[in-house]
């Protein structure tokens, strides 16, 4: 689905990532880990075209993302659900409106029943009319997950989805992600929550990658 071919990226102050080659196959479940500042968020941004690699190519369904025009990029993003590390909500819209925004933006009809069901799935039925700034960190993150999946994307990218969640909630979130993966969604989670990774490995066959010394390595046996 998403392919990295000898990708390197730097922000102008020395290489951050280099020699990345990887293929996210349809239906796979990946974890991406590594210390803070290693470049996990950067890797995800390369996946959905927010960043363009300094060298090498990132492709989506075989097409080089860097070669897409603006409309094609927009259409691709409707196929990739992203849970951003900082959620990226519009603060003047209610949670329900934020969650439904990808539908509105792509001109699709919003079914109130389905929206309510989705909010129930992430346990936010009572917060539907709340504005994002009034929500707790964990509530925001679950809202971001709901928004990421509302378009039934082929790929779900999640950046520290359990960052603000306690153990119980992150296990619940994991269950949701595993459920999505069973329905066919390709899942890629960037996290340094090792407990989350360990718990996931008991439920799905997940590949764990680690960014170390700018490169991508399969994680050690401890995971």
């Amino acid at each position: 689905m998403i392919g990295f071919d000898n990708v390197a990226h730097d922000f102008g102050s020395g290489a951050l990532l280099s020699e990345l080659t990887l293929e996210l196959t349809a239906g796979s479940f990946h974890f991406l880990t590594g210390p803070s500042g290693a470049g996990k968020s950067t890797f995800l941004k390369l996946c959905y075209g927010e960043l363009t690699p300094t060298s090498g190519t990132v492709s989506f369904l075989g097409r080089n993302i860097a070669g897409m025009n603006r409309d094609e990029l927009a259409l691709m993003r409707r196929d990739i659900g992203v849970v951003h590390q900082d959620c990226q909500f519009l603060d003047h819209l209610t949670l329900a409106e934020n969650v439904a925004l990808p539908l509105a933006v792509s001109g699709r009809r919003i079914d109130p029943g389905e929206l309510a069901e989705l909010l129930g799935w992430v346990g936010l039925s009572n917060q539907a009319q709340a504005l994002p700034p009034t929500l707790s960190g964990g509530e925001r993150q679950r809202g971001a997950l709901a928004r990421a999946v509302i378009m039934s994307p082929r790929i779900l990218l999640a950046d520290e989805p359990s960052g603000n969640l306690d153990h119980d909630l992150s296990m619940r979130l994991l269950t949701l992600l595993v459920e999505l993966n069973r329905l066919g969604t390709t899942v890629m989670i960037a996290t340094h929550d090792l407990a989350l990774i360990r718990a996931a490995k008991t439920q799905v066959s997940a590949r764990v990658m680690r960014i170390k010394d700018r490169r991508l390595h399969p994680a050690g046996a401890d995971l």
């Binding site: 603006r70 409309d71 927009a74 691709m76 993003r77 819209l93 990808p102 933006v105």
Partner: protein, 300 residues
């Protein structure tokens, strides 16, 4: 009704897209105010342009194909001289007819200046001969020369002398008012562009989020286009109404006072300013759309 709303939605962008970008009250009112002020000024410029056109028409049409010959001689010589002038006119090619303006007509002409009961017999007014030209017209210079030679007290006035500069002045004023209209349109476009760019810049984060979730440029642009089109339309509507009211309360165009009292619209001309609000809306639509798409493509 539903077709109309579809067309409007097409034109103005859907309310959904509009809601996605928060509104800011002050910017909204500034745009409405600007559009209103510009519309008010265009009503005045338009009135100016139409009034001068009317005036030029009146001046150039009023004496078209006519000339006057004045004879200022001693009263007793008047009759003879007038007859000699008529004789000359009778053989001048291009003259359709000529007649001596009689006392009754004279009285009518002078009444506005001296009052209806003027004893013009006792006034030293010149004798007037009204000349009507054939469509081809006569050679004014030649006739003037001949009169100078044969009837030195007669003087040809073909009205060109005073009419031309007036008609020219009217044309100038008209040109200036049309230029003003163009400038007002340009200034409106420039100010709306600035407002749209400021709005785009202040909502950079909203735009970034919309792009992340797969919004096309056209969708994002629509959110801005709708509000600026509506604001220009509403503002221009207010300004145009105010301008028309201001003109309607000026002294009437029919009063004999030329340009000053003639500044306004007459009859169907009152329909002209109604084009201003839709034009303002078109400017708002086009300018915002261009600015938004341009900014988005540049990646801001």
């Amino acid at each position: 009704m539903s077709r109309l709303s579809t067309v409007l939605a097409r034109l103005l962008g859907d309310t959904e897209a509009d809601k996605v970008v928060p509104r800011s009250g002050l910017a909204l009112w500034l745009t409405v105010f600007t559009a209103a002020a510009m519309a008010f000024l265009s009503v005045l410029a338009l009135a100016m342009s139409l009034a001068t056109a009317r005036l030029a028409d009146r001046w150039s049409g009023a004496f078209e194909g006519r000339a006057t010959i004045l004879i200022s001689a001693a009263p007793e010589a008047m009759g003879v001289q007038a007859q000699r002038v008529l004789d000359i006119l009778a053989v001048t090619p291009g003259v359709a007819s000529a007649h001596v303006v009689d006392q009754g007509e004279m009285r009518r002409l002078l009444a506005p200046w001296f009052g209806a009961r003027t004893p013009i017999e006792s006034l030293p007014v010149p004798q007037l001969i009204d000349v009507e030209e054939t469509p081809a017209g006569f050679d004014a210079a030649g006739l003037a020369l001949r009169l100078a030679a044969e009837v030195p007290d007669a003087h040809l006035d073909d009205h060109q002398r005073w009419r031309k500069p007036l008609v020219q002045a009217a044309a100038r004023i008209r040109l200036v008012s049309v230029l003003s209209l163009i400038l007002i349109g340009g200034a409106t476009a420039a100010m709306l562009t600035l407002a749209a760019l400021a709005s785009l810049a202040s909502h950079a984060r909203v735009i970034a989020v919309l792009k992340l979730i797969g919004a096309r440029d056209a969708y994002i642009a629509r959110a801005f286009v709708r509000r600026f089109t509506l604001r220009s339309l509403i503002g221009a509507g207010l300004g145009t109404s105010a301008g028309m009211i201001a003109l309607a309360t000026l002294p009437g165009a029919s009063a004999p006072g030329g340009l000053l009292t003639g500044l306004g619209f007459s009859g169907l001309q009152w329909l002209w300013p109604l084009a201003i609000p839709p034009l303002a809306a078109i400017i708002g639509f086009w300018v915002t759309r261009t600015a938004a798409l341009h900014r988005l493509r540049r990646g801001e």
